[in-house]
Symmetry: C2
Subunit: 644 residues, 2 copies
């Protein structure tokens, strides 16, 4: 048994690395050992930046989503924001209590996928997985769009570059995650503290003594002047559904219990309460301030930006907290990059997605999942032009499906386990399941035409895909005989075929390889019958190669194949087919020149390309390439003439 391998020096390992590859290596960093990536465990305070940013930062788009809905009923009815926010905060309390129990029940991390797989089996867990994929993608897109919206509110001159800025931030997050720096909780602490403390302070100033309550807000008001719609029950439900986007991310702490310091369960539950308190206070405070300053949605200012401006004026505090909000929103997008690739790797292990998602990259991260998430989120951002409000109707549905499945899974869990006070615990989770389930139905009804249909199509599509992939892998495993011991390998007679076009060191090298592999080797060459040759002497050969071969006498017969067609490959394939029919195993050795520089490749190896293409899909022939290195440009000396 070999010892643990050591990585040799970088430069030696990859002598032919291109400039592109070198730039990429610079961006992403050297390969890491698994042991180099181990993280310090986190405290409850560090739990906020590491696991709660998605939830906390939703104050940047939740209240606005409510006001956008209410605005169609006219300025008079904007005051409905307060009761709607109270309802959302009540839901938040239910969720926090309920998720504290999830933490108790699943101290190893209780994502909706794991909980529902454990309690409901694979079929329901596929629903959870599909919802989570949609949710993670939307979280990235919404967070980045909201962050850039906040930035553009503070600096309106950037507004024309919204989409490029969104994509730039997405690219930055992607590269950081490919480096494996996606979860540096400590680095995230400072902006998180500035954001929480700053925003709470601004809310306090606004409630007690606003500095600039009559601030002229830039942009055009989007409030319907005479009320397009009456304030109906449906409109209030719509506002509630839109505002529930503020609750996304509450589940993240329960997923990440093992990251906490000992005792992790206690610390995680403490963080959950901390998160719930801060988020509840912020939501209620912002709703009150929106009422107080008569804030409504505007074209070029987010609601949060308007509230902050009225509370403290557009001065240093406003700009500092605005920037902090942009940063933490980008970091909130970052948390999805921690989630989706791990989910994809779990799904790959369960054969629901291609196994490539279970492969770790050089930096020990699940790079394929990172790429797919970045591409999906980037496409969404481009599709909606970086506009948060276009994404809100799609958002929260996936999250609330996950909430509902996790809560109801917990009910089953308590019922099966029956620990002390299990009835009480089950009742709490049942309440959570009912409330979140009801909310999900409200979302589907109120948001369906506004974009929720996308989710209604996407989730079953993902589930169908999971099932088809799983069925394929199941059948393949059977065909490959995985889990059984196949017949022992046997030695068979093999013919090695070497296509040649001339006599050279490359051919000699290839024939040496061929002779080393089998007793029976044949070199084949294709001669094209030209019209002229066919007319005059039908069987005139290539006197050069055949007679030279005889002179050389390499100990390998040369088979000359004649054709009237242009393809040099087809005659060789036919020759192989004929020998295959006789029951011989065939190995084709293709001599390949390896030039010293990539750009010289176009000058070589036509035979390699056409033979490889012709034999690529053949399962009865082994194709091998025998490489031969060239050195060019040569050391400055002999300038030999070509003799052939």
């Amino acid at each position: 048994m070999a010892p643990v391998t050591e990585r040799p020096d970088e430069g030696v390992a990859a002598p032919q690395r291109s400039a592109l590859a070198a730039t990429w290596r610079f961006l992403v960093g050297r390969p890491l050992r698994a042991s180099e990536t181990s993280k310090e465990r986190i405290s409850p305070l560090e739990g906020l930046p590491a696991l709660s940013l998605d939830a906390l930062t939703s104050v940047a788009y939740g209240p606005e989503a409510i006001l956008v809905v209410l605005a169609v009923a006219g300025a008079r009815h904007l005051s409905a924001i307060f009761p709607v926010t109270v309802a959302i905060v009540v839901l938040l309390v239910v969720l926090v209590v309920s998720y504290r129990q999830v933490i108790d029940a699943y101290p190893a991390g209780g994502g909706a996928y794991a909980v529902s797989r454990d309690n409901f089996g694979p079929k329901v867990s596929q629903v959870a997985a599909a919802s989570l994929i949609v949710d993670y993608t939307l979280t990235v897109a919404v967070s980045i769009a909201a962050g850039v919206g906040q930035l553009v509110s503070a600096f309106p001159e950037l507004s024309s570059a919204t989409v490029p800025i969104c994509l730039g931030i997405l690219a930055l997050i992607t590269v950081l995650n490919l480096r494996g720096l996606g979860d540096s909780a400590r680095a995230f602490l400072l902006p998180t503290v500035v954001f929480i403390v700053g925003l709470l302070a601004i809310i306090a100033v606004g409630l007690i003594h606003p500095l600039d309550p009559h601030l002229h807000q830039p942009g055009r008001s989007l409030i319907a002047t005479s009320g397009i719609e009456a304030l109906s029950v449906l409109l209030v439900l719509k506002a509630f559904a839109a505002g529930c986007s503020a609750l996304t991310g509450v589940e993240a702490i329960a997923n990440g219990v093992p990251l906490f310091r000992d005792p992790p369960v206690v610390r995680a539950k403490r963080t959950e309460v901390l998160l719930g308190s801060i988020l509840g206070v912020m939501l209620l405070g912002l709703a009150e301030l929106a009422l107080k300053f008569h804030i409504g949605p505007r074209t070029s200012q987010t609601v949060l930006s308007q509230i902050m401006g009225a509370a403290v004026g557009r001065h240093w505090a406003f700009y500092t907290v605005s920037l902090a909000i942009t940063v933490v929103l980008a970091l909130a997008a970052n948390t999805s990059f921690g989630g989706l690739p791990i989910l994809a790797s779990l799904l790959a292990r369960d054969n629901y997605v291609p196994h490539i998602f279970a492969l770790r990259g050089e930096r020990q991260v699940f790079a394929n999942g990172i790429w797919v998430l970045a591409i999906m989120a980037g496409a969404l951002l481009v599709a909606v032009g970086g506009n948060t409000q276009s994404l809100i109707p799609l958002f929260a549905i996936g999250v609330f499906i996950g909430f509902t499945l996790a809560q109801s899974g917990l009910v089953v869990h308590w019922w099966r386990q029956r620990p002390a006070r299990w009835r009480q615990k089950a009742a709490v989770n049942a309440l959570g399941a009912v409330v979140t389930g009801a909310s999900t139905i409200i979302f589907l009804i109120t948001k369906f035409t506004g974009g929720a249909w996308v989710v209604v199509i996407a989730v079953p599509t993902f589930i169908l895909l999971f099932r088809r992939i799983e069925a394929y892998y199941r059948r393949t495993a059977q065909e490959l005989g995985l889990g059984t011991l196949p017949e022992r390998p046997t030695k068979e007679h093999t013919l090695v075929v070497v296509p040649v076009t001339n006599i050279s060191r490359l051919v000699a090298h290839s024939l040496s390889q061929a002779k080393s592999l089998s007793e029976e080797v044949v070199a084949v060459t294709v001669v094209k019958e030209t019209v002229e040759a066919a007319r005059q002497t039908p069987s005139v050969g290539p006197p050069d190669l055949e007679s030279q071969w005889e002179r050389w006498d390499p100990g390998v017969p040369l088979m000359v194949l004649r054709t009237e067609y242009a393809s040099v490959v087809d005659p060789i394939v036919e020759f192989i087919d004929a020998r295959r029919c006789e029951g011989t195993e065939i190995v084709v050795l293709i001599p390949v020149v390896v030039p010293s520089r990539l750009r010289y490749r176009i000058l070589h190896n036509q035979m390699d390309h056409v033979m490889s293409a012709a034999l690529r899909h053949r399962s009865d022939v082994v194709v091998a390439r025998v490489p031969f290195s060239l050195e060019y440009p040569p050391p400055k000396q002999a300038h030999a003439r070509r003799e052939g």
Copy 2:
């Protein structure tokens, strides 16, 4: 020795052909034997469509090019077209006489490249080759642009689609040439006759009794109202240089002498005279008519279209001949597709361009040359927006360099051979060389800033490329020992390495192949040390695979490589390196699943992709893939459970 191979039935030969490939096959046709492409020899009359269209159709842009230059001197000086045209016709006579001698001297086909290679050696011939490449590309672009210009003059509503129509015609010509139908002289006869007879008749009608001499011409006049420039010597020279674009293609008959019926030389010389007469008459007639009808350049009407309209009115004759002109111009572009690919194949044989240009495609045509020409011409057409006049300054320079080299080569030829009356013959060609050489210099001076600098850069760039490629091939041939007999191949000890991740029929199959190839086979597997495993029991193996391997006992040792890095490839490469250092030849057999449908490929073969990528540039390791076919979807029966 094997007999001439026969092509099996189509369907059997390519069972996995995609829909795309099938569509392409439909467009381009089945593979052809060389003997199926042999052509009937042509008569002098057929020689006009086959070899002279480039020259004849230049009446569509030559006179216009003269008028565009003269128009800057104002309407008064447009009459200078007549003396300028007379000078061009004199040059035409010199060229016809001179090229009749080229036909005598090179009955096997006397292209500028062949003649200058024969008489001046390789360096000068490279100049000719580079000029010809530029010339062929420009002929395609100019002819198509002029043809579409004629079409748009007749049907002005098409004018907004100029570039798409140009590219559509180019695509059509490309596909026809890839089919190998590029030189169907007989099919081209009808439009050529309609064009020649129709245009000569229109000229006659216009000279004798014009039907609509005061026709209102559409578009805006481009004549400078008060004369921006005086009629200087330089301007007249510029007009001459621009008009000489009408002489391009005069050399084509001399290139194609072997295509004529016996006696080819006599028939080719007769065709040359026929071409010269028709072209001269047309040019003089059109110049006279342009004067008579006071024709100048206009925005949406070609000069030829204006003349035709004034001569016979915009009636059926006008439309018929206009369409015939568009068709023959497209066919003129087509003649370049006959020329450049053959030139490229000659250059490839002389090692000046990559050898792939010497490969015939399935239809026996030089497909790579056709593609390159189509791409270069398409890029030119897009770059100038399908406007003929933007291309005229680039045009003719390449042609006239070729003229000059061919004529002066002939002088050398006569001087060396000294046949009867050689002095007289040399004098004729010397005159031709001097006149065309002087014209080339006039072009360079007068057109340099107008676009000729592109040619001045392109020609030396091509020459430099030829030289570097030739040097590379020369050196490579030396390194490969081409032309010498290398050492005889020897048998060496070889270790076959089979990377495995599990035990399956695929692995068994690969190990069978490996055992058939060498006495020494080793299976390698990579085990990743996770952080947890490393912390607890540092050398914990994959108990499953190792113990199962022992139970299976395939007669091949299993080497377990441990790594802390994510890459499974690097440990295997290091293992190979270690054995290479011991002097062992290594063959790596990668087990590869071949799924029944292409779309399943993403579900398989991660090991194949990463191993192949890692070893692609290694010249000391032979990499082979052992394919194993899967059948999926399965026949509707057993629904086995995965056991592994």
